[in-house]
Symmetry: C2
Subunit: 109 residues, 2 copies
DNA sequence: TTTATTACTTTGACAGGCAGAGTAATGTTT
DNA sequence: AAACATTACTCTGCCTGTCAAAGTAATAAA
C-alpha cells in the first residue's frame, strides 16, 4: 500500500480523470480506485469528499442527485468544460513532474 | 516552473539523492536542483532547511561544519547507513507511485 | 564603505489529507 | 419485525509539509 502523502497533490488528477470518463458518484470512485490499483492505493472518504467540495467550488465539476440508489442517495458529479481544460493541464504537469523526479531518482534502482 | 505542491512529498527523495552522491551543504543543493532541472523547479530555502532538520532528527543524515567558506559558514550533510536504506525504499516507492498514477493519467496526453 | 552574494535560521500561516463520529436509506438475516 | 450489514454522504478538528517573510552573519566586489 502506497503512503498517501507521496501521492498527495495527484488526487485531483485521479478523481477528475475518473469523472471525465463518465459521471460518477463518490462511493463509486472510491471503489474504482481500489479496483484499478489492485488495492495498492485506497482513497479515504474524508479526503474524497473534501476534494469534491474544492473542485465544485472552483467549477471544475458539478453535482446532481441520481435517482437509482442502493442505500444512501447518490450524488453524481460531471466534469465541466473548465474541468476538461484543467485536466489537460494536470496531465501535462504530471509528465513534467515525472521527468524532473526521474532526473534524480534514476540510476539507483 | 512546476508547482511545488505537486512535487510535495518527493523532496526528501531529491535531497537525499543529492547528499548520497557526496556530502553537500544547503545552498549547494538548492543550486544543484535548479541546475539539473534547468530551472523548471527550485526548492525554497525555508523548505530545504526544514527538511534537513527533519532528516537529521530521524538520523537519516548528519551534519558537520566545513572550513572552506565563501560568505556564510557552510553546514555539510552526509547520509547515514539508515539514510541509504531509506533512500532505497524511496526509490522503490517512486517506481510504484509512477505506475499507479500512470494507470489513471495514460491515454489522455 | 557600500553593495552583492553566499549561507543559514526562525516564526507563523496555509492547505491538503485524514481519523473519527455521525446521519440516513436500503437490503439481508434471523 | 427486529437486527445487522452495506451503501452513501457530511462534518469537525487535527497533523504535517511547504513557504513567505524577516532576520543574522560572513566574505567578495564596486
Amino acid at each position: 500500500m502506497v503512503r498517501s502523502d507521496i501521492i498527495r497533490g495527484h488526487l485531483d488528477s485521479i478523481i477528475l480523470r475518473l469523472i471525465s470518463e463518465k459521471d460518477r458518484y463518490g462511493y463509486e470512485i472510491s471503489q474504482e480506485i481500489s479496483l484499478r490499483t489492485n488495492n495498492r492505493f485506497q482513497i479515504k472518504e474524508a479526503t474524497l469528499y473534501a476534494i469534491f467540495q474544492r473542485l465544485e467550488k472552483r467549477e471544475i465539476i458539478e453535482a446532481y442527485y441520481g435517482d437509482i440508489t442502493h442505500g444512501g442517495k447518490r450524488k453524481y458529479y460531471r466534469i465541466t468544460p473548465l474541468g476538461r481544460a484543467y485536466l489537460t493541464e494536470l496531465v501535462r504537469e504530471w509528465t513534467e513532474v515525472k521527468e524532473i523526479i526521474d532526473l534524480f531518482m534514476e540510476g539507483l534502482e
